[in-house]
């Protein structure tokens, strides 16, 4: 009996210790975060983004701009930066992002995270990063609840999560208002892709359209869907628009071709995740994006020319420039933390504390960049609407 009691106590203590260890995944990170890092040493910024899989086009475009930023900007700040990449294919869910988080937290030279690029991964890993004091700055995660709560869904972000692009709470109403005011829609079909970004954006557009008296049919496709014929069959012949927010542009292209195949006249409308002139080319369709065409901003001419020299033959897209801007914002915050720490970053959290002090005039996306005082979103940022022309070019229309 005595042995049984001792054994039970040992098991309970062991289970408690294990639970405590699991409940504090950042323990190692916190310990390492407590050690000061010299600003003269090479500091690491990991970029957590999908480089492979269906959304691989996002990460590969972002990577070219982030590399160019790290090549050209750190010397202006007196910093040495090493950029590393963490691949998070969207098909694998949040598991790769969480594994990468543990790896980066344990690495003392990591002082900030660029990304995660996708909303699902940003939401899944932000608590772990923030507990370890690491700032995350996403150049493309737009899911509303990452920075603010809504009556329907509570806030899922953390004080350590920032983004330099506006959220879907701006994108959704922008898209819906464009449909109502410019396209004069009466009937809209909305298809979500059963993942956080897509469902969140679809919900906002649906609610805005319904409030304006527009008839909405809601469909939902698993994000492994390849053939949309049956979905297209469900699109009424008199539907004006099909809104399909996906992070895989080839899917919206397929949907568009199948709409034409079945003789449906509805216009396609995609969110920022579909903004890819290489893969979404159905003439007459619309896409929204958080970045304007930066080639039309005179102040960006030198940056664009430098990037094109490093990336011959590549076209300036919409996902890349915010990544350049994100690197610049992080460098500003790191520099401020270094000055406060007299040449070293005393704690990783010091970078978080300096994020809202960042001001960048002539920002790559236009104007002066600063964060809102109320949220960790950029101040006065907005979404833009493009229409795909018959030559495949995206024309700014709203």
């Amino acid at each position: 009996m005595k042995r049984a009691i001792v054994l039970a106590v040992v098991i309970v203590v062991a289970a408690g210790a294990t639970a405590a260890a699991l409940a504090k995944p950042s323990a190692t990170g916190s310990a390492s975060a407590a050690q000061a890092v010299s600003c003269k040493s090479t500091l690491t910024i990991p970029f957590v983004t999908p480089l492979t899989g269906g959304a691989g086009f996002i990460g590969t475009e972002q990577a070219t701009w982030a590399k160019y930023a790290v090549k050209t900007l750190p010397s202006h700040y007196g910093l040495k930066i090493k950029l590393v990449f963490g691949d998070t294919p969207v098909e694998q869910g949040p598991a790769p992002a969480l594994a990468l988080a543990q790896k980066y937290i344990a690495d003392k030279s990591v002082v900030a995270i660029l990304g995660p690029s996708t909303s699902g991964n940003a939401g899944a890993s932000t608590k772990v990063y923030t507990q370890a004091g690491l700032v995350q700055l996403s150049p493309s995660a737009t899911h509303t609840e990452l920075t603010i709560g809504t009556p329907a869904v509570p806030y899922i972000g953390t004080p350590g999560f920032f983004r330099n692009v506006p959220g879907d709470y701006i994108q959704g109403p922008t898209d819906a208002r464009f449909m109502i005011n410019k396209l004069h829609v009466k009937k809209v079909v909305i298809i979500d892709f059963q993942e956080p970004y897509s469902v969140g954006l679809a919900d906002i557009v649906e609610s805005t359209l319904k409030k304006a008296g527009v008839s909405v049919t809601r469909l939902s496709a698993p994000n492994t869907t390849t053939d949309y014929s049956a979905y297209v069959t469900k699109v009424p012949n008199d539907a004006d628009v099909v809104f399909f927010p996906t992070q895989k542009p080839p899917d919206i292209q397929t949907f568009g071709q199948q709409l034409l195949e079945q003789g449906k006249k509805a216009k396609l409308f995609g969110g920022d995740g579909s903004n890819d002139p290489a893969h979404f080319t159905i003439a007459g369709s619309y896409v929204s994006n958080f970045a304007p065409d930066i080639t039309s901003i005179p102040a960006d001419a030198a940056i664009v020319a430098g990037w094109q020299k490093d990336n011959p033959g590549k076209v300036v897209g919409s996902f890349g420039p915010p990544s350049y801007g994100a690197v610049q914002i992080l460098l500003e915050a790191i520099k401020k933390a270094c000055i406060q720490g007299h040449g070293s970053i005393q704690q990783r959290h010091d970078v978080i504390r300096n994020m809202k002090k960042v001001r960048i005039p002539n920002f790559i996306l236009g104007g002066t960049f600063r964060f809102s005082t109320k949220t960790n979103d950029p101040l006065n940022a907005k979404f833009y609407i493009f229409q795909i022309q018959s030559n495949g070019k995206y024309k700014l229309v709203g």
């Binding site: 899989g53 086009f57 590969t60 390849t226 049956a230 080839p250 292209q253 034409l260 195949e261 893969h279």
Partner: protein, 307 residues
């Protein structure tokens, strides 16, 4: 009624591709009793070979040969490439393990699957490849076709469905009306007895891999003519093909054809009439239902063992 016709055409298109993939699983299982989990990735490689051939022939915007010849050459290139790949896989991943416990080749198959997917990614990147068949003849393959009521069945679907059925007929003929087919059936029935009767088992197995992989190549092109491909498409396609093979009765050739069509129709009708959201759940519930109530599948034979 129009919706029903449209969904039937959708199901038939999907189902014929699933059936071709399922045939590859069932052929190999029938002869080797091996679940070739690399088959989905052979299908994926087929989509890439087809894409490469398409580019060699000028692409869809400016093809160097007539459209019909372009489609034939692309399909044959994918079939031939996949057949060679199938032979290589059999020679290096499965033959050395032929007499090992059954778990060993199964693990080897999974390894080959990952090897193919990752190698293709390293070689060609993660970017999706779009055959862009819409550009062929000004979209004629999509916009022209046969009208059933007010539903238009586009040319591309007619080509997909008829080619798949033609390949199934050829396969049936090969297996049931040729000496090699007879040898395959004998090997499937009892490998040792077949060897004792003078059948070259190695040759039969290689031929089986050639057939199964060539069908995967053809399925890959039929799939990618309508939908963009990438290095990850093999997983889901393989899963659906495997499900079709199990539903039809793995090891049974008519079963694989039936299983593929059932799966295609189930997917299309579920999405059309029940819910787009739950279609995968419904489709895989059919698989679970078969596993519980008829594990040998529709046309498979129950595995009776003497003890």
């Amino acid at each position: 009624m129009d919706t029903f016709i449209q969904l039937t055409v959708d199901g038939l298109t999907l189902g014929s591709v699933y059936a071709l993939i399922a045939l590859g699983y069932t052929l190999v299982y029938g002869v080797l009793k091996l679940l070739n989990f690399a088959h989905g990735d052979v299908f994926m490689v087929g989509t890439f070979i087809g894409f490469g051939m398409l580019q060699l022939l000028g692409g869809t915007s400016n093809p160097l040969v007539p459209v019909w010849l372009l489609l034939v050459l692309v399909t044959f290139a994918a079939m031939a490439g996949c057949a060679v790949l199938g032979v290589v896989i059999e020679r290096f991943a499965y033959r050395p393990l032929r007499d090992a416990p059954r778990i060993a080749p199964l693990i080897s198959a999974l390894g080959v699957s990952f090897f193919l997917a990752n190698s293709m990614q390293l070689l060609f990147g993660a970017e999706p490849r779009n055959y862009n068949t819409f550009a062929l003849s000004g979209g004629a393959l999509y916009l022209k076709g046969v009208d059933i009521g007010s539903v238009r069945v586009p040319l591309l679907r007619i080509i997909t469905i008829s080619s798949a059925f033609a390949l199934m007929v050829v396969l049936w003929f090969l297996v049931n009306r040729t000496r090699t087919g007879k040898a395959m059936r004998a090997t499937s029935f009892d490998r040792e007895a077949a060897a004792m009767m003078g059948i070259d088992i190695d040759r039969v197995i290689v031929f089986t891999f050639i057939l199964g992989s060539a069908l995967a190549g053809a399925a890959g092109v039929m799939f990618a003519l309508r939908v963009p491909t990438n290095v990850a498409v093999g997983f889901i396609a393989g899963l659906k093909g495997f499900t079709a093979a199990v539903i039809g009765g793995i090891g049974s050739i008519p079963g694989a054809m039936a299983g593929g069509l059932i799966l295609g129709f189930a997917e299309a009708y579920t999405q059309g009439y029940i819910s787009t959201k739950w279609s995968d759940l419904f489709v895989f519930s059919i698989l679970i239902g078969f596993m519980i109530f008829r594990p040998q599948g529709l046309l498979g034979r129950a595995d009776i063992r003497k003890v």
